[in-house]
Amino acid sequence: MEKSLRTALLGATAVAVFSSSVWVLGAQQGAAQEGAAPGAGQGQGRGRGRGAAPSLPTPRLPDGTVNLGRVPGEKGVWGVPYITNMAMQVIGPDGQPVPEIVKLRQDQAAARAGGAGARGGGGGGRGRGGSKSEPWMPWMPWSAAVYDYHSLNESKYDPEGYCLPPGGPRMMATPYQAEILQQPEHKRVIMIFEGATHIWREIYMDGRKFPEGDQLNPTYLGYSVGRWEGDTLVVENKGFNENSWLDYFGHPHTDKMHVTERWTRPNKQTLHYEATVNDPGAYTKPFTMAWDIPWREGAELPEYICQENNRYLNRLEDDLGQPIFGPRPQPGVKPASGTR
């Protein structure tokens, strides 16, 4: 009994102290996304354009509503892509990538062809260009400075690396699988995610209004109210806390953020996702991002635990040489490196 209790408690301690190896993986893969095309319904995103399988018709529920999940009798999940820098997914009013991104991608492709490394917005790993490389983003001075800071230290403090949940659109950019369960009889839509700390979302489809004042308790995922506009699921989200980043690259947001999500399923194999971020606390005007999410036919959600064996934080120190987690040294006493 005591042994099993001890084992359980040691496990709990490990969960609390150790962080995600995924963060390290993310740091390594930061560069991997630099060539990812903005998903604007162009069939260029990760997981798209593979093979020449013909598009299958959009599945529908018995009442004609678009089915964003499985067809009865079949298996399948959505393979959420890894979007490390959402600024590279920004689209204009025409639904196409903004011209600066198009040119940047052309320059990066030319640089790669010439053997040079890519820099600037969307560049991964070392040499990230910071806010100046993303002039299409409606920065405030502080949000640009924070982004530059994260660029300099290569997203060392990414909260998702600590196994904290993503906030807002990052749910659909964390590279694990997800399912969407429509429950019209309960007037709600449930989204469940393999990754991102094994979390779920509930979208209220009953026409309710947002809670006001202190009733709108700030949370990682915010408060979601949805509606159908034709074949598009439109979800309004407010009530975010400030404990997350918009993406791995470190675009910040505040609790003033309002996100409008639009989901369509143009065919069985594709979920098209758009998110308009309106955060007057961090950006001078709204911006919209988009990408596609491929259907993984026959797949099911596996178990993934972010915290398990996550040793990264055990040796992570902040800018002042203090451990990020765990006991802090006494004032004026800098911990000896490598002693933890």
Binding site: L152, Y162, S244, T254, L320
Partner: protein
């Protein structure tokens, strides 16, 4: 034996969790800060309660009868890892007389949970170093 072990594990959990619980990645100046200013032999305690409304930083220094109201905050982002911050505030001393406060400091450890704000504090005729950390 088991009680001691449980206490040790509980202590480890308590020490490891507050950092996550205090996460805040919005405007780095927003939040409550605590620390001291003045001489080491006779320090004055500080509590800064600051907010960001999307345009300005506002807030109060040492809430209570001698509270000072923040009037203006200016940032220098030249060094992304150590922002320059200047704060002007107005309050009252213990006798009720108006007193101006001028804070000239640096904001460091910007991405971590334990952000650090330190520099020079001038209040009335007194001047000294200050250090506050975000709670």
């Amino acid at each position: 034996m088991r009680t001691g072990f449980l206490r040790a594990v509980s202590l480890a959990l308590m020490l490891s969790l507050p950092a996550a619980a205090g996460a805040q990645f919005g405007h780095p100046m927003k939040g409550q800060w605590s620390g001291e200013w003045g001489s080491k032999s006779n320090p004055s305690r500080l509590l800064l309660d600051l907010d960001w409304d999307g345009k300005d930083i506002s807030g109060v220094i040492n809430p209570g009868p001698t509270a000072a109201t923040v009037k203006s905050v200016a940032f220098d982002y030249t060094n992304p890892s150590a922002w320059g911050v200047k704060i002007q505030a107005e309050g009252k001393d213990a006798s009720g007389k108006p007193v101006a406060i001028s804070i000239d400091g640096k904001l460091e450890n910007i991405g971590a949970y334990t952000k650090l704000f330190h520099g020079t504090w001038t209040q009335g005729g007194r001047k000294g170093d200050f250090t506050v950390t975000r709670n």
